[in-house]
């Protein structure tokens, strides 16, 4: 008697589990997943929460890195792949299979440990520092302290943008690599002579010194006009062969004022609608006439 | 020599061996034996340590299956049970066993006795209660535990635990009860009580008992087999073994000159 009861328990448990797995195979219309860039994750997460609440649907948002996002959306295993880069800038992904949706712009600012005594650098100085040609802060008017370079990890979108917009063809000197914004923050704050770069949203921290470049202040307005030159788009890629109504609606929602004006400002991104210039894959910037097309 | 080991008692035979030998690996621990055990009698197996009497006993209900190789025949109920065709679980239900160390389950007294019964499909509460009482009475334990049947069996004293093991063994109504030095872990008072119990059980059960205690063998058993170094030297009425042994070795042993 006791035995058969236990059997029922097991059978029902196994049933629930298999049913759960089955239900996953035909992931229903009420749920999609967006995976990828950790830099874009907070925005998509908050938007997904707001949208999901309003429409009774679930949008799962995962980090994992731009590479993960692009791989998975190309394979069709998720609906949206978040990326800091143009898909063409990553090797190994069939770019023609994906559709680009730009949802925001991120400005990137060099940050230093406040102890170095430098608040402004010229673009050439910045380049020389990261190329390893300037190794002491006194060479750029700071204290007698050696420069400690902290890069983002290879393959990081932030690093790619920084190197494209600052270094151009010059290659960077070897240095520490940190894989996350958080580690960069902590290390630059704590280490004398450290310099690195962060997205605007991560740079507003006590103990971090943001640098001006050629006396241009790193503000959103300056990014929209390309006076501040280090910035990139945040992309959400979808797969051409996989259409879902929910995906489309969610991407449309991301272009509404609720997101583009309120949420984006709150989280420290820059609205795609405010941009007065366009940047192409190679980093060339051209002015834009009103009304950004898709 | 082997021929003289066989005695055909004037009784119906419960179980008998024919050229049964036991090997541990390559080593022959027990040489070919031919013994038959009379029904409703107590037979004692005596002999010094290492004489293979326990090995012999444990072979009778195939408890040695995993550790040793048993050759020859064991005849029970008209078939040779030393065969892979025999259902050992069924066999062991019919040939029960009580061990040297009391080994009650970590369950209540009641559950100790009913566990195997329930497994056999006896579910009726009244029947179970009745068997519990019968078995405990049979093992002379009833009066001591009847108010505490829900108590853990491990809380009983050693002597009580051993009698509980007997009660547990007879609850499944075996035909034969094998006892492997059942009193060796007990104090004299418990031993006396146990022996009393065995004498009473003789009315309904065939018992084969390994013992190191000469007095115990003399007091309780009807027949006695003397084992020495893996061979049976003598098998006869207990009185003959102790008073008039035919083999000198037996005499030396029962008089305590070695052992």
């Amino acid at each position: 008697m006791k035995n058969s009861k236990r059997h029922y328990l097991w059978i029902s448990l196994i049933t629930i589990m298999t049913a759960g797995l089955l239900s996953a195979c035909q992931q229903n219309k009420n749920s999609i997943t967006a995976v990828g860039s950790t830099a874009l994750q907070p925005l998509v997460e908050e938007a997904a929460y707001a949208y999901g609440n309003k429409h009774g649907v679930t949008i799962n948002v995962q980090g994992g890195g731009s590479g993960t996002g692009l791989s998975q959306v190309a394979e069709g295993s998720v609906a949206i792949g978040d990326s800091d880069l143009f898909v063409e800038q990553k090797q190994g992904i069939p770019a023609n299979k994906l559709v680009d949706h730009r949802v925001a712009v991120v400005g990137i600012v060099p940050v230093v440990n406040p102890g170095v005594g430098v608040k402004n650098l010229s673009m050439d100085q910045l380049r020389a520092i990261f190329a390893g040609k300037i190794t002491n802060w006194k060479e750029v008017g700071g204290k007698n302290q050696s420069v400690l370079l902290i890069h983002r990890g290879q393959g990081s979108g932030t690093r790619f943008t920084f190197e494209q917009d600052v270094m151009g063809k010059t290659s960077v000197a070897p240095g520490q690599e940190q894989d996350s914004n958080g580690s960069v923050q902590k290390i630059v704050k704590a280490t004398p002579g450290a310099i690195s770069y962060l997205a605007f949203a991560y740079a507003n921290q006590p103990g971090l010194q943001k640098l001006q470049i050629d006396h241009v202040v790193p503000t959103k307005t300056n990014v929209t006009t390309n006076e501040w030159k280090i910035w990139s788009y945040e992309h959400m890629y979808t797969n051409k062969n996989k259409h879902s109504k929910l995906t489309e609606q969610f991407l449309q929602y991301l272009q509404t004022p609720a997101v583009q004006q309120d949420l984006i400002a709150k989280l420290g991104y820059i609205s795609i609608h405010d941009m007065k210039v366009v940047k192409d894959i190679d980093g060339n910037v051209t002015p834009l006439k009103k009304g950004l097309g898709k | 020599m082997k021929e003289k080991n066989i005695i055909i008692p004037d009784h119906e035979v419960a179980i008998s061996t024919k050229d049964m030998a036991v090997y541990y690996g390559e080593k022959k621990a027990l040489h070919e034996t031919r013994l038959s055990f009379p029904k409703y009698r107590i037979t004692a197996l005596i002999g010094a340590s290492g004489s293979a009497k326990s090995t012999f006993l444990r072979s009778l209900n195939r408890m040695n299956d995993k550790v040793a190789r048993v050759t020859g025949e064991i005849n029970f109920e008209g078939i040779n049970i030393n065969s892979s065709k025999v259902n050992v679980n069924e066999l062991r239900r019919r040939i029960g066993m009580v061990f040297q160390q009391p080994n009650p389950f970590a369950k209540s007294i009641y559950d100790n006795i009913t566990y195997a019964l329930k497994y056999q499909g006896i579910k009726d509460k009244q029947t179970l209660d009745q068997i519990v009482e019968e078995s405990l009475r049979g093992a002379a334990l009833w009066d001591e535990v009847k108010d505490n049947l829900d108590k853990s069996a491990l809380a009983l004293s050693g002597g009580q635990q051993q009698r509980l093991c007997i009660a547990r063994a007879i609850a499944v109504k075996p035909e034969i009860l094998l006892l492997d030095e059942p009193a060796s872990a007990l104090d004299p008072i418990s031993t006396a009580k146990l022996e009393e119990t065995l004498m009473k059980l003789r009315e309904n059960y065939t018992m084969i008992m390994v013992t190191h205690n000469m007095q115990q063998a003399a007091r309780t058993s009807d027949y006695t087999a003397f084992f020495h170094l893996g061979e049976v030297y003598e098998y006869d009425h207990t009185s003959n073994i102790f008073q008039n042994p035919q083999v000198e070795l037996t005499l030396n042993y029962v008089e305590g000159r070695f052992g």
């Binding site: 994750q41 420290g268 | 080994n103």
Partner: protein
């Protein structure tokens, strides 16, 4: 120097080293608890986490950790029971058994990141299960399985043979004997082992980042339908656990109070692990007493 003096000095040195370690451990524990609990109000346990604003909590992460733990145990306990029973009671001494034992040892020493990546590659990508609790639970099973299996095997082996004989001599099948006689006796050991391994599971992050994922969809605790995406019971939803949350706050935290929340979450984590440990010892002893019942 005479031997007596050496003896005294050796004892003194050892005592000093023990004292150093105890102080170190107390400092670590104290630091985590003090920094963790002083900066945040305790009600953050019941608040949802926030991506960018201050005042986020860890409600869903805590639940995810517990739910993941339960699922991982649901998978790994029966499996390790089966394997443990096989090794202790059935396994003959042959090449298969030796291989099984070696592989279990290997499994137990695999780096968690390697297991995590394997689970990511196979479960999340190949089988398209996606980032989900169930993928995480399966990854955790890999860690739990070898530890629990050898614990259970040893527990069985430590039981006296007399118990097996008692059962078999009554005509019980070996299986029934194992299940009905031996198993109940090792329940205390199993419970202790399970609770202790729970502590380890609870703090695991490396294997979960790429399996159960790094985001926690907001849960609706009133929804008990395990197939609905916002139900806490849904095993196919991604689920950031407490340990992963701490890792993420440290690496990508956007909220102004990321440090405070991560310290507080660490404190909560340690307290939960502490509770696991205490209850493991408590239950282990209680059950042992109840079974042996020396009244």
């Amino acid at each position: 120097m005479d031997a007596k003096k050496v003896d005294r000095i050796a004892k003194r040195v050892i005592q000093t080293m023990v004292l150093m370690i105890v102080v170190l451990l107390v400092l670590i524990l104290g630091y985590i608890l003090v920094t963790g609990l002083s900066q945040t109000k305790l009600d953050f346990i019941f608040k949802i986490s926030k991506a960018a604003q201050a005042g986020g909590g860890i409600r869903d992460q805590l639940f995810n950790s517990l739910y993941l733990l339960v699922l991982a145990l649901l998978i790994s306990v029966p499996l390790s029971l089966g394997a443990g029973i096989y090794l202790a009671e059935y396994a003959p001494d042959n090449w298969f058994t030796r291989m099984l034992k070696t592989l279990i040892e290997i499994l137990s020493s695999l780096p968690s990141i390697v297991v995590g990546l394997f689970a990511y590659l196979v479960l999340v990508i190949k089988f398209q299960i996606g980032f989900s609790i169930i993928a995480g639970a399966m990854a955790l099973t890999f860690f739990n399985l070898p530890l629990l299996t050898s614990n259970i095997e040893n527990a069985f082996r430590n039981l006296p043979d007399s118990q097996r004989e008692a059962g078999l001599a009554l005509g019980l099948s070996q299986w029934k004997m194992i299940k009905g006689i031996l198993l109940p006796r090792i329940v205390p050991s199993i419970i202790t082992a399970v609770i202790l391994s729970s502590g380890r599971i609870f703090g695991e992050a490396a294997a979960l980042i790429y399996t159960s994922g790094q985001s926690a969809p907001i849960l609706n605790y009133a929804n008990w339908n395990p197939f609905s995406p916002d139900s806490p019971l849904n095993i196919m939803r991604p689920a950031e656990t407490l340990a992963v949350h701490i890792w993420k706050l440290n690496s990508e935290g956007l909220t102004p109070d990321a440090d405070a929340i991560s310290a507080a979450a660490s404190a909560v984590l340690i307290i939960v692990v502490l509770l696991f440990n205490i209850s493991a010892h408590y239950f282990g002893e209680k059950l042992e007493q109840k079974l042996t019942a020396k009244r």
